[in-house]
């Protein structure tokens, strides 16, 4: 069973969202996602300052067997991205909710709260998919 921290929110497409309080969120991909991809060999993160829209492809994670787009769960502006992953993509395998974060986004003020999944709901989604 993969690790699903209780204090985060999730999407159907296996991104996690951490509320940072100051109108910003931190975004990454889940332990389940990194486990399914296998050993990552390349991670491409968005440039700081880029505007992203919910559902838009904003990062790429590439493993020895697959390459996947990561979709922004929110509308906003990228304020930071984890450039450490360019030289050390394995951080995302080792610590998907910590050192393997992908980007921080400042949310658009007008953005309505998106219907994210709680840890419990995300766990159910995974269980259903596996079932």
């Amino acid at each position: 069973m993969s690790n699903i921290p209780k204090d985060l929110q999730y999407t159907q497409s296996h991104e996690w969202i951490r509320r940072l309080g100051d109108g910003q969120v931190e975004i990454g991909i889940t332990d389940h996602a990194q486990g399914s991809l296998g050993d990552l060999v390349f991670v491409e993160v968005p440039d700081v300052g880029r505007r992203v829209k919910a559902g838009e492809s904003c990062a790429v994670v590439e493993s020895v067997k697959a390459a996947s787009d990561v979709y922004s769960p929110v509308n906003g502006k990228v304020t930071a991205s984890n450039t450490e992953l360019a030289s050390r993509p394995e951080l995302l395998n080792q610590d998907p909710y910590g050192a393997g974060w992908l980007m921080r986004v400042e949310l658009d003020a007008a953005a309505a709260a998106a219907p994210f999944l709680s840890a419990g709901d995300y766990a159910n989604t995974l269980a259903e998919a596996a079932g």
Binding site: D47, E62, S63, A67
Partner: protein, 457 residues
């Protein structure tokens, strides 16, 4: 002779097994109106002997003309071992093999090819080749849009001095993927793209600038200054180069190209009615994940022995699906085999001699032809092995009269560059002797004098 191995019995048993009356019944869902039952335009079959005779007769009609056309495909001497080796059974396959790692020899050859192309272009990584020079440019434009994250315009500056066929192919392929092309005019006196023409676009959002060196007219662009302007405006530089010329000219990696592509035909591939040829592409390591095409890498196996494998395949469509860097998933394996053998036989020194001789022959040709009354050189810029001549009368009848004398005199530029007036693009490579150039000059002189006399009468 039927090439289907199944006997009528086999077919009957298979149909019975799946419960179908006839093979035709398998195609029932195709409306009858769409089915073609006869090929009316195809003549009746000929025997092998008849076909052989027909083709010999047609080939004889071509004659053995003296050829002075370049314009993107060049007649060079091909040492006999090139195709003797390339057509050995071990190499004789058109593509990268399936289960590629089982064919270590083929992969090693492609790896050597990639290394040679990196050496020639001054770039860090080359792919295993593409279809041809024109489609390589189209792929380079698509790649630049992916690679240039500072630009969102999807607009490419395409100088008019770039081979017009390449520009058309790029517009046909990339234009249909929402990429726009902005033509940049050339200087009428020098025959090349001036920095002034680019500066009109300073501060605007463009994704890439295409620079052909030497350009379509054979002239040398001031690539360093043009490339610096592009980078100052956050524009990626796509170089289109003639690989033979790189033995003499500065490699594009040194003057700032971000993507290098071009036509590989001059490296040991015969003209053969326009193909098959091969395209090449090389880039800087920072853009490797945006590059299309196959890439062979050198690695170690589990026992520490060196070997070769296809690498960075997550760019390709069998893994990346619709987000792949290209939907072309193979290379021109056999052409690349010939080119690799050609380059290894000539070596750096041999290629330099071919390039220098071609440049000298073209110089001699221009000197000889511009002595003819009514012929002058169009441009003042330094050139490699092609030149544009201006005639005092329409080009087409002159070329027709030369063809009667067994000379293919060059390419009429009227279609693509009407503003030049009657203009002829000529080329001489190391294959042309003094006597050939003399023969062309004498024939041209005769044709020009006769048609002048004809016009006067």
């Amino acid at each position: 002779m039927a090439f289907i191995p199944h006997t009528p019995d086999d077919v009957a048993r298979m149909l019975e097994t799946i419960g179908v009356q006839s093979i035709e019944a398998l195609f029932d869902e195709i409306p009858a109106a769409l089915k073609i039952t006869a090929l009316d335009a195809v003549p009746p079959a000929l025997s092998e002997m008849e076909v052989g005779r027909l083709l010999m007769e047609r080939a004889a009609r071509d004659g053995r003309p003296l050829n002075f056309i370049g314009a993107g495909a060049y007649e060079h001497h091909i040492p006999a071992p090139v195709w003797a080796i390339a057509t050995r059974g071990e190499f004789y396959s058109a593509y990268t093999p399936y289960q590629a790692e089982a064919s270590q020899g083929t992969l090693q050859l492609i790896y050597e090819y990639q290394s040679m192309m990196c050496g020639l272009t001054g770039m860090e990584v080359s792919n295993a080749s593409l279809y041809d020079g024109a489609s390589a440019l189209a792929e380079a434009c698509l790649m630049a849009v992916r690679a240039n994250r500072a630009s969102s315009s999807r607009r490419v500056l395409m100088p008019r001095a770039v081979n017009p066929t390449y520009a058309k192919v790029a517009a046909a392929i990339a234009g249909n993927q929402d990429i726009g092309f902005e033509p940049v005019d050339y200087d009428r006196e020098q025959g090349r793209t001036l920095l002034d023409a680019l500066q009109a676009y300073s501060g605007q959002d463009f994704t890439a600038l295409v620079l052909q060196q030497p350009n379509f007219f054979g002239n040398l662009e001031e690539v360093g200054a043009l490339s610096d302007w592009a980078h100052a405006n956050k524009i990626l530089v796509i170089a289109v180069v003639n690989p033979t010329s790189l033995a003499l000219l500065a490699p594009p990696g040194r003057w700032g190209a971000d993507i290098v592509c071009g036509e590989g035909q001059p490296l040991g591939i015969p003209l053969s009615s326009g193909g098959p040829y091969f395209g090449f592409m090389a880039t800087r390591m920072q853009y490797v994940r945006q590059m299309p095409g196959r890439i062979v890498g050198r690695t170690l196996d589990v026992e520490g022995r060196p070997g070769f494998s296809l690498t960075l395949q997550a760019r390709e469509q069998h893994i990346r699906r619709s987000k792949a860097t290209s939907n072309i998933c193979t290379n021109q394996g056999l052409m690349v085999t010939a080119a690799t053998i050609y380059l290894s036989l000539l070596g750096a020194e041999g290629l330099e001699r071919v390039a220098a001789a071609s440049m000298q022959r073209t110089d001699d040709l221009v000197t000889a032809l511009t002595r003819v009354k009514g012929v002058r050189a169009a441009f003042s810029a330094p050139r490699f092995h092609e030149a544009v001549l201006l005639l005092d009368r329409p080009v087409a009848p002159v070329l027709a009269a030369l063809a009667h004398r067994g000379i293919v005199g060059g390419l009429d530029l009227g279609g693509s560059f009407p503003e030049l007036g009657p203009a002829l693009l000529v080329c001489a490579t190391e294959t042309k002797l003094d006597t050939d150039i003399g023969a062309y000059a004498a024939a041209l002189s005769e044709v020009m004098t006769q048609s002048r006399a004809g016009a006067a009468a």
